[in-house]
């Protein structure tokens, strides 16, 4: 309990944000008029928007039973990073009066600091909008009442690390807006996202965004969409979320092209769990999509994944903040508060049903699969408890990280963390620092290998240090995870990119031209090879023009060896890595050179060695310090001299020690840069 109350403190920030947004929610005719003028919208839209506002005013009495599934549309926006997904979402929320223009913060649905800074979405969010639209060309000018639609925008993470979460979010949708930048055209993530949506049989509404840019070339992008995805150029909508141009076509297209949800309202309740987060006051809040049946407040519900039962104590829609409705009908998307203690109980993709009914779980549920592991240690050894709390609090909101305590002789007590992928790991680190003020040393990320020994036993290795350097039985085989990588680049960069990818042991699977200037390549790459610094290098050799995405693939056999780093003969467990045998010498040399550069001279000679088993493959020496003396000490200097020496002592205290060798924290950061 004590721990829960601590957790809530750190969430105050996001709660504060929601308060801000709520306060912007007051009806203000003046801003509304300005909005109209700025948008120079059609009369029909003006008309419907006024109605939206009246809906807004009455939001406390939203009656969802007015929205049978035929009047519901569930859709998502998918796009390559920076193609304008979040801005477009903001505009749609404004257009429907769900938020007020210019009042809420930009990227409304990206609530985390890390999401705003990086322009990415990490957590799925949903928002319910109401929009009046006359089907079959009707508009409200003919006096006939047009039906009001309930539109659910399901914002999904865009990155491959979260592809499982994306696939679950898409499972709740019937269509997507595929947003492509009018100047940049189709990028790697566009391809990945398209196939995700296509394979889920979703209706795809192509949108070419940012047409206001001077370099916009919508025709070229249309041609790419046609050649890559066979999307009809006449179906493509042209917009600028920045100027508002073309925005008015989007929601009508959503309503007309995307089908209503297919569920059966007379069947027993089945809900898909999309994501969850932890709220200071309410506990765990789950985003859900009602696939079949009806959920009412007070219903007893169960999880198919954990078998645990709960009571739906509060249900409603995100409009855009929690808005209780007491009921969720077939096809609708909203939230459920059910007294879950931790988001670990709320598994993305889980099926929720009425406790005493029997249902077939929805397809596609998978437990989280951890592909990248790294050790996290407090930068200052004495901060272990603080780091422990920070990690517990953060995992309360991000249950997809696996955490196990581990001990390193060099770094002390820490954690071995498993992540869905690289971005996930980065985001986790960043959130630890930004939201919880933790200072950490992270060990070189590694992937899960499988080693087979002569006696037939197998070992899954998530931490290189756990693989014996001189095993009792000989290693007979090793398997490593691979990925299928998509790389799209301007054709002039093909040479250097192929060189890079082959250095990383990549195997080309596909090579084709998207148009006259852009090349599309598909590679199988060992995951290990892209874990460290691959994307940065790719960007730098292509002047930032490359786009890159990947999906998990099979394990493949590989000749991997454990590379130990020794300081004065003592192995530094936190610096051990597993590398391909062909690269071991180069990596060993790089690591020892790097270490020589960052280790301070000590009172004795320091030998830095890289070794495979008992064989030394690289060696550097740091000669002993010759002189460090304050040569004069008068009465007046005593305090100053002591302060100097205390500072020196503090410096030593911050260092990690192996044997008698002091290792500065920067050494660990530097090693992260060696692939």
């Amino acid at each position: 309990m004590g721990y829960l109350s601590k957790a809530s403190k750190t969430l105050r920030q996001s709660n504060y944000l929601s308060l801000l947004c709520n306060s912007n929610f007051n009806f203000n005719p003046l801003t509304n008029r300005i909005t109209h003028e700025r948008f120079s919208v059609t009369r029909a839209l003006l008309c419907s928007q006024t109605r939206q506002n009246s809906t807004t005013r009455e939001k406390s009495t939203i009656d969802l039973s007015q929205y049978p599934k035929e009047l519901v549309r569930n859709f998502s926006i998918i796009a390559h990073v920076d193609h304008g997904k979040s801005t477009l979402a903001d505009r749609l929320l404004e257009l429907t009066g769900t938020i007020k223009k210019g009042h809420g913060q930009p990227q409304y649905l990206d609530k985390l600091q890390v999401e705003r800074e990086r322009g990415i979405t990490v957590k799925a969010q949903t928002a319910t909008m109401f929009y009046k639209h006359g089907v079959n060309g009707d508009d409200c000018s003919d006096g006939k009442e047009s039906p009001k639609f309930l539109l659910n925008l399901i914002d999904t993470p865009g990155h491959v690390d979260f592809s499982y979460e994306v696939s679950r979010s898409l499972a709740a949708c019937q269509g997507v807006l595929l947003v492509v930048d009018a100047a940049q055209g189709v990028q790697a993530q566009t391809v990945a996202n398209f196939y995700l949506a296509f394979e889920s049989n979703l209706t795809i509404v192509p949108v070419i965004n940012k047409i206001d840019q001077p370099t916009a070339d919508p025709d070229r992008v249309k041609a790419q969409l046609k050649s890559m995805f066979d999307l009809d150029p006449s179906d493509v909508l042209l917009t600028s979320a920045k100027t508002g141009e073309g925005l008015q076509q989007i929601l009508p297209a959503v309503i007309e092209r995307i089908p209503a949800p297919p569920g059966r309202s007379d069947s027993p309740l089945r809900m898909l769990l999309l994501d969850s987060y932890y709220d200071e006051y309410k506990g765990v809040i789950c985003h859900v999509a009602v696939v079949d049946g009806v959920l009412r407040k007070g219903d007893k519900i169960s999880s198919a994944a954990t078998g645990q039962s709960y009571e739906a104590s509060d249900i409603g829609i995100m409009h855009p903040e929690l808005t209780p409705t007491g009921i969720l009908l077939t096809g609708q998307v909203g939230y459920v508060v059910s007294g879950m203690r931790s988001t670990k109980e709320a598994r993305v993709g889980d099926t929720i049903y009425h406790t005493r009914s029997t249902v077939e779980p929805l397809p596609g549920f998978k437990p989280a699969k951890h592909m990248v592991f790294s050790g996290l240690y407090p930068a200052d050894g004495s901060d272990f408890e603080a780091l422990n709390h920070a990690i517990e609090r953060l995992t309360c909101n991000d249950a997809s990280v696996s955490i196990a305590k581990e001990t390193s002789t060099a770094l002390g007590l820490g954690f071995r963390c498993g992540f869905l992928g690289l971005l996930h790991m980065d985001v986790f680190h960043q959130r630890l620092e930004q939201e919880y003020g933790a200072h950490v040393i992270s060990t070189v990320p590694t992937v899960p290998y499988i080693f087979e020994f002569h006696d037939g036993s197998k070992l899954e290795v998530q931490n290189p240090a756990s693989l014996p350097s001189n095993p009792k039985h000989k290693v007979t085989a090793c398997w490593e995870p691979t990925v299928l990588a998509t790389i799209i680049i301007p054709s002039e960069y093909v040479g250097p990119v192929i060189t890079l990818v082959s250095e990383r042991r990549g195997q080309q699977l596909e090579y084709s031209f998207i148009d006259s200037q852009r090349v599309f390549m598909k590679y199988r790459l060992p995951l290990r090879e892209i874990v460290v610094d691959f994307y940065n290098e790719l960007k730098s050799i292509t002047s930032g023009y490359a786009s890159f995405d990947y999906e998990d693939s099979d394990y493949q056999q590989a000749d991997m060896v454990k590379l130990d780093i020794l300081l004065n003969g003592q192995p530094v467990d936190a610096m051990a890595t597993i590398v391909h045998s062909a690269k071991a010498y180069r990596v060993g040399r790089e690591l020892t050179e790097k270490l020589k550069g960052v280790l301070d001279r000590q009172m004795f000679e320091v030998n830095i060695q890289a070794a495979i088993g008992s064989k030394i493959i690289a060696r550097e020496t740091i000669s002993a310090m010759r002189k460090n003396v304050l040569a004069k000490c008068y009465g007046g200097d005593i305090t100053r001299k002591r302060k100097l020496l205390e500072k020196q002592k503090e410096g030593k205290k911050r260092m990690k020690r192996v044997g008698s060798v002091d290792i500065p924290q920067e050494a660990f950061h530097e090693l992260l840069k060696v692939s």
Binding site: G381, S382, D383, F384, E385, N388, G412, L413, M603, F604, M625, R626, K627, N628, V629, L630, A631, K632, C633, Y634, G635, G636, I638, T639, K641, R642, L644, L645, E646, Q648, K649, K652, K653, S660
Partner: protein, 486 residues
């Protein structure tokens, strides 16, 4: 009450007048025996009043010009100023200095017959030899009146070549100055010029002659190593010429480049034209070797002397004993408090006025924290050849810290940077140390820990910082151990 009344009596009665030519062993031992009592007074569990100081530092800040390496509080009078008799800046300063001495609160017993008279007085600078003898006389008179001054007191004065002649020297001797610290710094014209000294080589030789001519028996030559463009031949020459001059004491300072000095703007340590770290370590070793061969004892990191000629005043600092400080920028250590005076003349005058009006008290009764004391004692003791006297150290701070210190130093005993000595000051071999460390009373057998000469002294900062780390962790256990327990 009782204690504070009796301590000063004890301190007046115990001092044995020391003949100047006592063997160094006897002197250092006496120092450390008495320091035992004192250190215990400062220990956190016994916060009793320390004895009043019997030493005074007097800052005379005037120089002809500022040397390029100097960051001391000084007042530059101009290169032409060799005669300062009529300079109002000097007389005015001496006036305020005497007022400061007079206004200082003294925690002396009411009975004037039991007062602690001063045993050492040190005129530092600046260039004290620029001050006219009659003004020095007035300072000494003021001190005598205020605290008393023992007949056999050591009265040192820093003197620079080119600022005094035989007549001035004789006048100083008559006033009671009996120890001269001659700021030679280098025996090469080009180096003297490069570091901005106000004198040349000719003045150096003249000054040495004058000091010897005037019969000053106890005198020191100050040298600086690691000057820009200094070669190993130059350094050897300086050491040789210093030894040939036959002073009783030599101070060898390794140049520190301080921020805000001309050198600080021009040079970085270890980079040309400064000698490399290796070179300057060689300079240090050369000094240690040549001076030892010439029968000088290396009794402190930067100090060498003929037997019995240790600077008693400086030893007060290194024994962590109290001392008065008077004048611009000077520091005093009274009642457990280190107090620094303002470094600017106007601020200093304000300070003296406030002192007279009772608005400041430079000797506030406050006991220094146990941790501060232990760190000061470790830092200062390890600078000396005597090293840490474990017996008194253990009495003051307990045996657990002694054990952890020995444990932390063991690898360096092995590599020869640290030396463990028994009570007869015989080196304890590493094997013996290992076996005695495993026994419970290991610290009983090791009587002293010192840094080796020259290797250990050369790395004294590292080794002292290491000891600080031990003291730190001894104070508060590392939290991750607690985490393991839960």
């Amino acid at each position: 009450m009782l204690k504070s009344t009796f301590t000063p009596i004890f301190w007046v009665l115990t001092p044995k007048p020391k003949p100047p030519k006592l063997p160094p062993q006897a002197i250092t031992n006496t120092f450390f025996t008495s320091s035992t009592t004192h250190v215990r007074h400062n220990a956190p569990l016994n916060p009793t009043t320390p004895p009043p100081p019997s030493s005074a530092y007097i800052h005379l800040p005037f120089c002809r010009k500022r040397c390029h390496y100097c960051d001391f509080p000084i007042v530059a009078l101009g290169s032409a100023s060799t005669q300062t008799n009529d300079d109002p800046r000097v007389s005015n300063y001496i006036h305020w200095l005497c007022r400061e001495i007079s206004a200082t609160n003294v925690d002396q017993p009411a009975d004037a017959s039991t007062i602690t008279p001063l045993k050492t007085v040190y005129f530092g600078g600046g260039t004290p030899s620029l001050v006219p003898p009659r003004m020095v006389a007035s300072v000494l008179d003021t001190l005598r009146l205020k605290f008393g001054l023992r007949e056999d007191a050591e009265i040192s004065m820093e003197m620079d070549p080119g600022t005094f002649d035989a007549e001035k020297m004789r006048e100083m001797v008559v006033l009671g100055v009996n120890r001269v610290s001659l700021g030679v710094q280098a025996f090469q014209e080009e180096l003297l010029r490069a570091c901005g000294r106000a004198h040349g080589l000719k003045e150096v030789h003249e000054a040495i002659d004058v000091v010897k001519l005037c019969g000053v028996e106890n005198w020191s030559i100050d040298l600086i190593s690691s000057l820009p463009h200094q070669t190993s031949e130059m350094w050897e020459e300086s050491l040789r010429l210093a030894i040939e001059s036959q002073p009783t004491h030599v101070s060898v300072y390794d140049l520190q480049i301080e921020q805000g000095t001309k050198f600080g703007r021009l040079y970085s340590p270890g980079e040309f034209p400064m000698p490399s770290e290796t070179q300057s370590a060689e300079f240090y070793k050369m000094a240690s070797r040549m001076l030892s061969d010439a029968n000088y004892n290396h009794y402190e990191i930067s100090s060498y002397c003929k037997s019995g000629y240790e600077c008693k005043h400086n030893f007060i600092y290194w024994k962590n004993k109290p001392f008065y400080g008077f004048g611009l920028g000077s520091t005093s250590f009274v009642g457990g408090l280190r107090f620094s005076r303002p470094r600017k003349v106007n601020d200093y005058i304000n300070f003296v006025q406030n002192l007279e009006n009772g608005l400041v008290n430079s000797s506030v009764k406050g006991h220094i924290s146990g941790k501060d004391t232990i760190m000061d004692v470790v830092m200062l003791s390890l600078r000396t050849a005597q090293g840490i006297d474990l017996k008194s150290f253990q009495e003051s701070f307990g045996s657990s810290v002694v054990l952890s210190l020995l444990e932390a130093y063991k690898p360096y005993v092995e590599s020869g940077l640290v030396v463990c000595l028994d009570e007869h000051r015989r080196t304890i071999r590493i094997d013996d140390l290992n076996s005695s460390l495993s026994k419970t009373n290991a610290e009983g057998r090791v009587a002293y820990i010192r840094l080796s000469d020259p290797e250990g002294f050369l790395l004294s900062n590292e080794l002292i910082a290491l000891a600080f780390g031990v003291i730190d962790s001894w104070k508060d256990m590392p939290p991750y151990k607690e985490a393991e327990a839960t």
